[in-house]
């Protein structure tokens, strides 16, 4: 019996309609997911994402390993054959950089003096955590990477990520051993930056291309081609002064930034364990009620008590001396005003030499003594 003569001959499977129903149901579910995910400030499905990334991360790491070995092998071979030319290039580079090193040392010294004189509190050193990129998503709608360090190493959402060239992006999701880094080129990336030459502020906006746009540039003519772009630190998301790239005019006429981080492969990165300005002072201190610290102060030593009493006695003496001087001046002014004046103007006095001309003692300002 042929198949077509069998019991399946008259079966009319309404598969097109059932498939259409399945498509519509799945599409409705996707739309609901999309609305709930896009409208939330942070994705409500972050645990799901973290779980998938925790699984995909090691797989990507395994796949990336042979590629990395191949890269190391090619670097070794290349280094062997091009050692002489590279040595010459490095010597030239070293000679160029030595004056810069001297200037940097001098400027660092001057800057430290200025900071001390002005009482500026410099930003504390930021701890770093090194990680390796294990997966990479590219394209117009997504530029992100997975790195093999997560919350177990202290990495938190928002931490800036740099490589040896400059800023790469920031952490947007963490799990135990894997973190997701959104690059500066991602379409959702916004980074406050400054132009080093003019100190003008702008916003670096990714659009999926290798060179993100500079938007909202403050000031006219604030940017020129070749200007160095740094992170401004505005908003507290990034520390100030992290190198980002060089300004260039795009083919669409907009200002764009050639990223320093693109000068080499983004393989090993460093996560700056920098959160925001609250890192400068503990959040407990910020949130503490006023004058809380008085209760925690230790008792003053005898030397401190003596110094405080001496300072108070000096201050009181200075204040009394100033008041005495002020009252003497006032009495002298009153006596001068009460003295009878002659009816005819006196004869013009002979001009005295300039060296002898002195202001009356009563008009002299009180000496600036001590601090109150």
């Amino acid at each position: 019996m042929a198949f077509r003569d069998g019991p399946f001959e008259n079966i009319k499977v309404p598969l097109v309609w059932t498939a259409a129903v399945a498509v519509v149901a799945a599409a409705v579910g996707c739309v609901l997911l999309l609305i709930s995910d896009a409208r939330a400030q942070t994705s409500p499905y972050q645990p799901v994402r973290s779980g998938v990334e925790a699984v995909a991360g090691p797989v990507g790491g395994v796949l990336a390993a042979p590629v990395r070995w191949f890269g190391h092998a090619s670097d070794f071979v290349g280094g062997y054959f091009f050692a002489v030319s590279e040595n010459r290039r490095l010597k030239r580079q070293l000679a160029d950089l030595e004056p810069w090193r001297d200037q940097a040392i001098a400027l660092k010294n001057v800057n430290a003096r200025y900071e001390a004189m002005l009482g500026i509190r410099p930003e504390p050193p930021v701890a770093m955590q090194t990680a390796r990129s294990i997966s990479d998503t590219r394209g117009p709608f997504s530029n992100a990477r997975l790195i093999d360090a997560g919350s177990s190493k202290g990495i938190k959402v928002g931490n800036p990520v740099i490589n040896e060239q400059g800023l790469v992006g920031r952490v947007v999701g963490t799990s135990g051993n894997v973190s997701r880094v959104v690059l500066l080129t991602d379409v959702a990336s916004r980074t406050p930056v400054l132009v080093d030459r003019t100190d003008a502020r702008a916003l670096l906006t990714g659009d999926g291309s290798p060179n993100p746009r500079l938007e909202f540039i403050r000031g006219v003519g604030a940017v020129q081609a070749g200007d160095r772009i740094l992170s401004s630190g505005d908003g507290g998301g990034f520390p100030r002064g992290v190198p980002i790239g060089v300004a260039a005019k795009g083919i669409d006429g907009s200002w764009r930034v050639k990223l320093f981080s693109d000068r080499g492969a983004i393989d090993y990165v460093r996560v700056m364990l920098f959160e925001d300005f609250s890192q400068l002072i503990g959040s407990d201190d910020l949130n503490a009620p006023p004058l809380t610290a008085f209760g925690t102060l230790p008792e003053a030593t005898a030397a401190q008590t003596g110094a405080i009493a001496d300072s108070a006695a000096r201050r009181d003496a200075t204040r009394a001396r100033n008041e005495q001087s002020r009252s003497d001046n006032a009495r002298a002014d009153a006596a001068e005003a009460a003295r009878p004046r002659p009816a005819t103007p006196p004869a013009q006095p002979e001009p005295r030499p300039a060296a002898e001309t002195r202001p009356p003692a009563a008009e002299a300002p009180p000496p600036a003594e001590g601090t109150e």
């Binding site: 079966i11 796949l63 590219r138 947007v172």
Partner: protein
């Protein structure tokens, strides 16, 4: 008496599950951070091949659900809004399913034109939705950099259609 004819029944494992797993594997492999001569690996949207080929092979309830899963996986993998790629893949599936009676048996060139049109539609959908969500338009040049590798995958879709189209005589 006629001799019995051997019937080759191709189940969903052959034409849905295995291609879906291959798609996932290739997507992860192409996500490897490799740069050769300054160029990184292409990153086409590989599930678009399945979204175009599956409704032409045969209508199925399982295929849209698997396609949704692939799209959601792609959303997680690329850190996009959850449901966006799934929606665009389902859009391709719906268009091809609706025009299935016209497309069955057409020449390869016609299929390629439809494939290109469907991919363009899906990318346009994603572009517009991302523009609304991110309040920022993606670079068109960068988008072409993903559209073109995706279009170059058409031979795989065509091969799937030719292989599985008549795999089960009930759907001839």
């Amino acid at each position: 008496m006629r001799r019995p004819v051997a019937v080759r029944v191709v189940g969903p494992v052959q034409w849905i599950v295995i291609p879906a797993l291959i798609t996932v594997a290739v997507t992860i492999v192409l996500g490897t951070p490799v740069e050769l001569f300054g160029l990184s690996l292409p990153e086409p949207v590989i599930p678009m091949v399945l979204a175009f080929a599956w409704p032409l092979i045969r209508p199925s309830v399982v295929a849209p659900l698997v396609l949704t899963g692939l799209g959601l996986g792609l959303d997680v993998f690329t850190y996009g809004p959850l449901g966006l790629w799934a929606l665009s893949l389902l859009g391709i599936y719906a268009v091809v399913l609706a025009s299935r009676s016209f497309l069955i048996g057409q020449d390869t060139a016609v299929l390629f034109v439809w494939y290109a049109a469907c991919c363009g539609l899906a990318f346009l959908l994603v572009y517009l939705v991302r523009m609304i969500i991110d309040k920022n338009a993606a670079s068109l040049l960068a988008m072409f950099g993903q559209v073109i590798p995706t279009l170059l995958l058409f031979p795989f879709a065509n091969q799937m259609i030719e292989r599985f189209d008549d795999g089960d005589v009930r759907f001839r």
